[in-house]
């Protein structure tokens, strides 16, 4: 007999509003009454079915690479399959829910070996991780940040050790994760507080490049006489495995890391004539000649300024000139990371006065909180966010189009509605330097 009381307990249980007493009473009843259990299972079954049916929208996010039609047709089954494949792909043995070994924090077109997209927020447990293409960043519980560029195969051993079987990784290791290890077939790379890149070349050699700080590299063949670890400092590179486990010094060459490195540094994507500065100690503003691109330099990161910072733009829209007094200010309450964007056009070729426009787009991994364009504001903010010992130029000029002006030749900077993307078109002005600063929320 299904009475009002039982019905009430079950409803409360489903609504997650049962008190301790009601929960006990429900249990008591279910223990002694098979009919009541039947009724309970039916009620829960309806509840679960409704949940599955109407929560489907969010699950769909997993299937974004599929066209809309296919998505509709295949529906929730595929969505679950996709999310499951993800799960299966990125997890294996340890099922401790307390602290995952790592989390996928950023994904730029990264797909697994089953052709399904990875998704930010997925947990990574020890096991094999295949990235068939694209880029994704793993943040380990130790604090290490590792960006993988596909095609790659990475084996996660624990929060302080990975084995790279194929592909390219760049790593940023904070103090908390000193001792982080990247192993390859030929090299054992131990971090000593730094950022560096490791890649496996097509021929199977291991390349290690230190962007900042120090790492220790040793051969996997430990019984060799010269197996003592080698200390590698910023701006140095080695290649291992060329000749039976030898480790050779090679020229510092960062091309292979130029896709993965920006993701480590909070820049998800650059398109058009925009490029992130090469990783390494010598690449800073004033020391980087590039006539073709808008170059992005990371400045200070995770930094709370001491004073309010005046900026030119805080909201989505197009940059327009404004008076100093009218400029918005950012209060010194938030941890910020700063980037300097630069177009340095110097006279080149037959026609040094030729003016071109350079366009590009950049997407940061965290929201942009302010953009600084005006020379005076750049100077003010340099004192806070500038890299010490770097010579910033005296005068810089981003020239916004005055309202109603139809003439060509102005600079355009648009902060997109996602607050992470800037769309930029700058006019080359030979002999002059265009620079502006972007402040984003620190990760």
């Amino acid at each position: 007999m299904i009475d009002v009381e039982l019905h009430d307990w079950i409803e409360k249980s489903l609504n997650e509003s049962a008190t301790e007493e009601e929960s006990l009473a429900l249990e008591e009843r279910l223990l002694g009454d098979a009919k009541a259990r039947d009724h309970y299972l039916n009620a829960v079954n309806l509840h679960a079915s409704l949940r599955r049916r109407f929560s489907a929208e969010a699950e769909m996010a997993f299937v974004t690479p599929f066209p809309t039609l296919a998505r509709r047709k295949l529906g929730i089954g595929l969505a679950i399959a996709a999310s499951l494949a993800l799960l299966v792909g990125v997890s294996s043995i340890l099922l401790k829910p307390s602290s995952p070994t790592a989390v996928i924090t950023h994904v730029v077109g990264a797909y697994g070996d089953t052709g399904l997209a990875y998704s930010a927020g997925e947990l990574v447990e020890p096991g094999h991780l295949v990235v068939s293409r694209g880029l994704m960043r793993l943040d380990f519980s130790s604090g290490a940040r590792v960006t993988i560029e596909g095609p790659a195969q990475l084996e996660v051993i624990n929060e302080k050790r990975v084995v790279l079987h194929r592909g390219v990784v760049t790593a940023t290791i904070p103090e908390s994760a000193i001792g982080f290890v990247v192993d390859t077939a030929d090299a054992h790379v131990v971090d000593l507080g730094t950022s560096f890149g490791v890649s496996i070349s097509e021929e199977g050699f291991t390349d290690v490049c230190v962007f900042d700080g120090e790492v220790e590299v040793s051969s996997q063949e430990t019984n060799r006489a010269d197996a003592a670890p080698r200390l590698l400092r910023e701006g140095q590179a080695i290649r291992a495995g060329v000749d039976s486990n030898s480790i050779d010094s090679v020229a510092y060459e960062t091309v292979r890391f130029e896709n993965a490195w920006p993701v480590n540094s909070g820049v998800l994507q650059t398109t058009g004539s925009m490029r992130f500065v090469s990783p390494g100690p010598d690449f800073h503003p004033g020391n980087y000649a590039d006539n073709e691109h808008i170059v992005v330099f990371p400045e200070r990161s995770g930094f709370i300024p001491d004073e309010a910072i005046r900026v030119d733009m805080v909201d989505p829209g197009q940059y327009a000139k404004s008076r100093y007094q009218e400029k918005p200010t950012l209060l010194p309450e938030q941890r910020l990371t700063s980037y300097l964007l630069q177009l340095n056009a110097y006279p080149a070729g037959k026609n040094p006065n030729q003016r071109r426009s350079v366009r590009g787009q950049i997407t940061f991994s965290s929201p942009i909180v302010g953009v600084i364009m005006a020379n005076r504001l750049l100077k003010e903010s340099e004192a806070v966010f500038g890299i010490p010992d770097v010579d910033y130029p005296g005068a810089r000029m981003i020239e916004a189009r005055p309202e109603g002006d139809q003439r060509p030749g102005f600079d355009t900077v648009i902060l997109a509605a996602d607050r992470r993307t800037l769309i930029i078109e700058l006019q080359e002005n030979p002999g002059h330097i265009d620079q502006f600063r972007v402040l984003v929320e620190a990760e």
């Binding site: 609504n15 223990l31 098979a34 299972l41 009620a43 829960v44 599955r52 109407f54 099922l95 096991g127």
Partner: protein, 181 residues
């Protein structure tokens, strides 16, 4: 690796079996843990274990029963942990529920299938409320706020609509049985 990883070529087989039975597993887990967020979590962990141990599953045997077994163990682990903070169902009750859920799995499947046409028959306002309360991340409270109603009123309406859906499902199944005769 401490345990062998299943043959990757069986991945598709696993996914197809899992997707077919996932709704039943979710429903079963929810009955044991009584909380949607916890149930999602348990199902997710159970699915990992199922894949990891898929080599132990004999093709041709009942995948659902095997999946229920894994889900039950995962849920019991979870409940042991939760029992420090709140009252949870005892292992004795879990075993009774598991036994019954397994025996009635086919019937519960058909109830799930009947739900679709019953939802279609709901008045638009009720349908909207059900969709709103069961949307990802939504709660009765959040929906009530959004709809400008009191949570209590929505509770009552939702309970009434669920009863109507149950009646409709039973009616539907009765009709199907009659049609089958």
């Amino acid at each position: 690796m401490a345990a062998p990883t299943p043959d990757p070529s069986r991945h598709e087989e696993f996914v197809s079996l899992y997707v077919r039975h996932e709704p039943a597993v979710f429903s079963f887990v929810l009955a044991m843990v009584q909380n949607t967020a916890d149930a999602e979590d348990v199902v997710q962990r159970a699915s990992m274990t199922m894949w990891r141990c898929f080599d132990q599953f004999q093709p041709g045997t009942n995948f659902r029963n095997w999946a229920f077994q894994v889900a039950k163990n995962t849920a019991l682990n979870h409940l042991t942990k939760m029992s420090r903070d709140r009252h949870v169902f005892s292992e004795k009750l879990i075993n009774l529920l598991a036994e019954q859920a397994e025996a009635r799995a086919g019937y519960l499947d058909s109830r799930r299938r009947a739900l679709d046409s019953c939802l279609e028959k709901l008045p638009a306002a009720d349908h909207e409320m059900v969709a709103g309360c069961y949307a990802e991340g939504a709660t009765i409270r959040s929906f009530a706020e959004q709809a400008g109603e009191t949570a209590n009123k929505i509770y009552k309406r939702l309970n009434r609509v669920r009863s109507q859906l149950q009646t409709c499902i039973e009616h539907q199944l009765g009709l199907e049985e009659e049609a089958a005769r």
